[in-house]
Symmetry: D2
């Protein structure tokens, strides 16, 4: 699968190569480090979600970690779109990372002295209230990541005297932290996903999630209801839905949906088959354990035994 002349993933058995939305020290790397064995694996930062996924698609990485949603900012559009088109991918697991920010400053700088502060725009959005109260005179300089801002603090030419970043990268770089927990939402959490090529499906755990991408069959009243009906008829609970423009022009939509349950659960499999009939171009993005381990609530009449009993009953009718 790796193109002629470019290096593939290491061939040593057991050696895994992971990529993630870099640079080093971001919350995304923190997410990756939650994956069992990742601390001993090869970890390659990518400069964008697209290039991280490209490494997976081309076989240069076994899997990638990218952000998918967070409790302050919602869906991360680039990821949603990148996994919805092109060569099929599969989500293997989701990872929750608590988001806490620190303010790191150059040596000798006090909080009151801060005039220019850098960080990623999303992090800035999440610390605005604190910043307006505590460093009201500071000008904001965008950075491509919180980690890039942290690194820039060690570079004399970077032009800013403070950075908002993760505790992890501040500690790794030995930065001077003058304020902790400066996010406006005290218990913010970001959701990341681990993505690979299609292969073995993760085993069901009873607390699983299934992600699908469903093009709207037609812009008619009721088409969305027809789609959602496939879930509700089988007692499958939705935990996320987003309509997304298909790209070329406004007005054509697809839906990105998370539901409770695993494709190995009969009710989910049956709903997927129903969706395939309504919108045959839908895409299955994976069934994987929920990070919060919350078990799906399954009504008796949508349980696996109920499905099996119904199958046997129908067969007995048809075979007389």
């Amino acid at each position: 699968m790796s193109p002629e002349g470019t290096p593939g993933p290491p061939k040593l058995p057991g050696t895994m190569v992971y990529t993630y939305l870099g640079p080093e020290g971001t919350f995304t790397e923190a997410a990756l480090l939650q994956v069992p064995g990742a601390d001993e694996a090869v970890r390659i930062p990518s400069t964008s979600v697209t290039s991280a996924l490209e490494m997976v698609r081309s076989g240069h990485a076994n899997a990638a970690v990218v952000p998918i949603e967070n409790s302050v900012e919602g869906g991360v559009s680039a990821t949603l779109d990148a996994i919805s088109i092109g060569q099929p991918l599969r989500i293997l697991r989701e990872i929750l990372v608590p988001i806490t920010f620190v303010l790191a400053v150059r040596p000798g700088i006090e909080l009151d002295d801060v005039r220019r502060v850098s960080t990623h725009s999303h992090a800035w959005a999440q610390c605005r209230n604190w910043a307006e109260m505590n460093i009201p005179k500071a000008e904001y300089l965008p950075a491509s990541s919180t980690a890039a801002a942290a690194v820039g603090l060690q570079d004399d030419s970077s032009g800013f005297d403070a950075a908002i970043c993760s505790p992890l990268v501040a500690s790794r770089l030995g930065l001077n932290v003058v304020a902790r927990d400066i996010g406006d939402v005290s218990d913010a959490v970001t959701r990341f996903i681990l993505i690979s090529l299609p292969g073995l499906l993760p085993e069901p755990t009873g607390a699983d999630k299934t992600t699908v991408v469903i093009p709207l069959p037609e812009d008619r009243p009721g088409a969305l209801m027809e789609i959602l009906d496939q879930f509700s008829t089988r007692g499958v609970n939705l935990s996320r839905i987003e309509s997304r423009p298909t790209g070329a022009f406004l007005g054509d939509y697809f839906f990105s949906i998370d539901v409770d349950g695993h494709i190995f659960d009969a009710r989910v499999a049956d709903a997927l088959k129903g969706l395939h009939r309504v919108s045959p171009e839908l895409r299955f993005l994976g069934s994987y354990p929920r990070a919060d381990h919350r078990r799906a609530h399954v009504l008796p009449h949508t349980s696996d035994p109920a499905f099996e009993a119904a199958d046997q009953w129908l067969e007995s009718l048809i075979n007389g």
Copy 2:
């Protein structure tokens, strides 16, 4: 299957025994005569729907013809209930019979002379307007069937001088008919069904009907919707629905439902499986050709190929 000492159905190959709601000469016999081969088969009248079905259940008849609905009187409760409980039965076909009534009188009686007229109460209900206009002074005497009234006309002790009956029985008995087509609804039609023990299912024709009996799982808002949803989600059209009390006390219900399509149609089979999960005690009463040959309207996404494609898609996902 036939109890000791009572005669079973004839053992000669090819000789069929039919029963029907009698007596001879009723519209029900006319319905039976529409069944191919019935004119050469043994035809035994039964005195009630229950006893006709009992002959089938006990093996003394191969099949029974009973009324199920008519265009003036609606559902025939006794039949609906009798096929919904007890030993399972199957509907093999439905038969439509045009309902036309004649007034037959004793020899020497003119229309203006009619003082007492007999017929079945349903037939009387269907000729009331005509009777009020044409024989306003006539008193009504109930009969157990239109044919019984016709026969009574030949019995001096029966006490009435006119009978409302079918043209068939009037002609068979050589009665004196003084008025024809006296029903208030000019194109009335009654629906009958042919019932046997479970066995081979009639082949699908593209214009089929499936009948089920579904106990309401619980008296909660939405239970009925949950049931009907199983049909609408698969694009299966209902052509009849009746809620029926379960018998012992008012308030507990089952539903008697006809839908377009055959159990061999994937969308119908899938809906039946869904119903079995929601209400496992449901009863399948048969898939059989529609008497009016009206083909079911099947949307592309609920056609058999769409179901097959969905099955294959899901299998490919699960098998990687």
Copy 3:
């Protein structure tokens, strides 16, 4: 309203005229006697449901009592149809009557002697098992009512030696009862309704029922769901539904539906408005107290206060 030359209802203030499906001594008269004041009112038996309703429509009776459903036989088609067409009528209340049958015989006749037994065909259907066990040799003669059979027992020319009738009529006529409680279903109950011309609506009691007749707008998949959706969206529970052919030909339907609640309940009124949009020819047949006094289960968000709050909220939006 009463035609020239025919007597209208009594003009004395306070004197009510009731009619009912006769003759005297039937279960229907027993139902009427449950209506407060009916024992002192004028009670006129009618020979059919249609003629009973005609007396109301023409102003010759203030109200009529007719059967609408029973726990053994289900919907009474003639009543359903008669109130669904023609000049509008209103149901004022429903009445439940326990159905118990006795076997009355001519003087000198013992149970073993019974050779010919008469009763209404529905009553016969409800006593068949008992009859087969206890008077197996008896031939059945149909009567137009249980009361007519009872009366016939006092007439030497009637030709039968036993009658199945209500305890009431047997007692009134002083008949010789040889068996009691001979119905196959021990706690059978029949539902009757009291019908009048439109006028003041009965006050809501919290345990009410509303009856409507809804023509199916079109024979398309989903039309029935659209109708039922109007109820479920407002949390209105169905307690009865029947599809009924419209009369002229099979295939066109209307629905006869009972729901929990009163037209003065906001959720019911809102559902009725929704139904009117979907099927403008629908007919409101009345809101009236349930005979079983079972209160409707109303979810907070479909209560009157929730409707009022929503109305006020919308008004505040529109008026800025």
Copy 4:
């Protein structure tokens, strides 16, 4: 409404003050310039969506223009969240802006010489393919806006030799453009909204949109369906839906929804009332003309006359 000591909006009649997500020269300013009269009004750039809305809430601006969705990136989370909480705001109109990018360079630089290129990260995402083909060696530097990058090109200390920006700002600043139309999607369009305090609602045009924010009443299967049912039952078509975490923790959701139609349309008003009952904390964000002028498809039975007829019918029933 404007706090002591801070300047309020100009008091001269007819003089409007607009703010927008700045700086000058962004696509957002281009959107504002489509608003009639905006070219002669006061136009104040804001540094964030939040501060733009704050200017409106505090009375320092009459209205604000902010991005809400675009055809490549989807929903703009900051805007969705900012208008969903805090003091109520209203959307007055939506504005579509075609998105085309140019590459501007410092004087003397050729395409092949470009080593460092700056732009907003979303613009960078939309020009990645072109950049990889045409300036593969160029390093990316994030800017807080495309206009900021353009301005930086005139500043020797900014450290980059090329900027991706709008044709408008390149032309205003007299920059050296070496490539045009470099976006990967040729007909990209971004949607912006004009926001003010609640006041007079825009008149319906027949091609309108209504935006609401609806908290999920409870995390139960079916709650989302209950919400969407309010629209489908009234034939109201959804054109956008997004589930959004409520902020504090993952798992609690609200929905941001656009539907076809105006609050003055009876079917939309009725759906809003239904939503208020299901989720009383919902927020109405406005009814306003669609930028694409596409008229809503209204079924006869959900038209204003159908609602009026239903209202009158119900009133006639209640008033006898």
